[in-house]
Symmetry: C2
Subunit: 337 residues, 2 copies
Amino acid sequence: MRVRDLGEFGLIARIARSLPAPGPGVIVGIGDDVAVLRTDGTRHILATCDIQVEGVHFLREKITPQQLGRKVIAINVSDIAAMGGLPRYLLVSLVLPKDTEVAFVDGLYEGMQAECARWGAEIVGGNMAHSPGGVIVDIFLLGEVEPEHLLQRSGARVGDRVLVTGTLGDSAAGLALVLHPEARCADEHRRWALERHLTPTPRLWEGQAIARSCLATAMIDVSDGLVSDIGHICEMSRVGVRLWAEALPISGAALAVAEAVGARALDWALSGGEDYELLFTAPADRADELARQVREETDTPVTVVGEIVPETEGMRLIQQDGSSVPLSKGGWDHFAE
Amino acid sequence: MRVRDLGEFGLIARIARSLPAPGPGVIVGIGDDVAVLRTDGTRHILATCDIQVEGVHFLREKITPQQLGRKVIAINVSDIAAMGGLPRYLLVSLVLPKDTEVAFVDGLYEGMQAECARWGAEIVGGNMAHSPGGVIVDIFLLGEVEPEHLLQRSGARVGDRVLVTGTLGDSAAGLALVLHPEARCADEHRRWALERHLTPTPRLWEGQAIARSCLATAMIDVSDGLVSDIGHICEMSRVGVRLWAEALPISGAALAVAEAVGARALDWALSGGEDYELLFTAPADRADELARQVREETDTPVTVVGEIVPETEGMRLIQQDGSSVPLSKGGWDHFAE
């Protein structure tokens, strides 16, 4: 059996089963994007890592080193934001071909440092190795969270509303433009989609507002795609979900680029991934209040996009005409063909 | 300019210069193998990472997945041991070709888990990505240290003795046997050298004994090689060193393998690297006492191998005939030709 047969999540589940039960210091362990660890201080430690592999996650000729540096920090900060935490310290593992230009490394660190400064994180170390292939950047990010503000994937309850910050599908639109630069669309749409893909903004302050409200019941960031990520919440909370197609927040840019390249913006919104928006749940009678609160504090739009239902009802998309279709996990699997 | 022109340490120094001064929470930051971070609890956090790249650090046909798993944990635990700390939690970043056998991943985790159990560490998460090339395993290890037991590279003083645990050059001997399996030597020597290379033992309890003695002034683990690693102590402590060739602890196995392959065991001891012994300094009048204490507590031999001298005297090797030669940093540089 090969790893492609099991898939990423199958492999992770297999590994998790093979390991001993977590000790008393582990609040959230293997299987989540972020580990949550008890200390003898007042705050929990958050630990996450995310790797960017040339030829898999990025193409060196399609992204500047500064953009790559910013992105690799942003996607890790996004994971910390989704727990209600703040990023603090990071280590950088860098695997470089020997003939890499020093200017590339300079640009990469320039981008990483700029993004770190934006979110209050510090680069405190790392590791370097020679690469027989392309460039690999692996970031280990440590954060912290007040125990009472920790948000997990497992807290969603039947009846809760599903909310999302910002818009969905923009990163997929940006990727489409990277791969098809000849596609014709308005400059402002092109700029917006490319920026969302190449230098995503983690929703750190939104995550803080959501966590401090004490109204949200579960949270995750949209990295694999809306369906896949709500799937993680459903799995960990043992619930089902109905997503309302009509309610999904899709930008004018995503609609325009989809039309230009002959794709469906709805598909991008459902399973494009890499939007790094926050996806969270809250009791039905408090959802609007929470959405308004986050909007007021951060200027970021928040939209109610569905509702949590019993696990037996599974995951469904309610279409404009009222009909519903089952959702299969259409997220990104790193070992799928 | 390419990274190979600057070399690993040149590149790290360049990056360190480009970053802002560390904040108040950072006790040891970039440039060390381990970051030391303040918390509001009673212990400092230690954070380190170490990456193993197929074709650079290992050959998949020369090491079993179990051995690789054990080794990648051991080399990270060694870094924590060298600060006087204990390992606690780790994240595993895994980059795998899609056609990797699941049995390889099973074996890798089996080895990692066995080694973690040995040192009291827990695997709490990680990340997976598809590799366009070979296998890459990046470990992010968190540890902790009592503030009063923290040992750094910067504390060596003129007059201090230099001490080392165990024997030096065995890992290089093991590597020579991996590359030249036809070399003829006694089975016990072959077994010893291969084991030291393929499944090194981090000196965790020795590190604890040294730290708790409060006699040592500086410490590092021998990963790049004795000369390179004492060089880090000299640089950070602003001192020089005299190493005594005659005193270097070299095993019968290293001597036998060196003879079999036509190499010099002394060269391996000086710059072979990957021995994962602890290299530390202590005041001249307490060095023997400390060596005895560690030996009694752990059964591991400790040898005095040199003395710290003023920085202006540089780094020299005192040979058997009393003559001395300057030591250049003969350690492993990941970007050197």
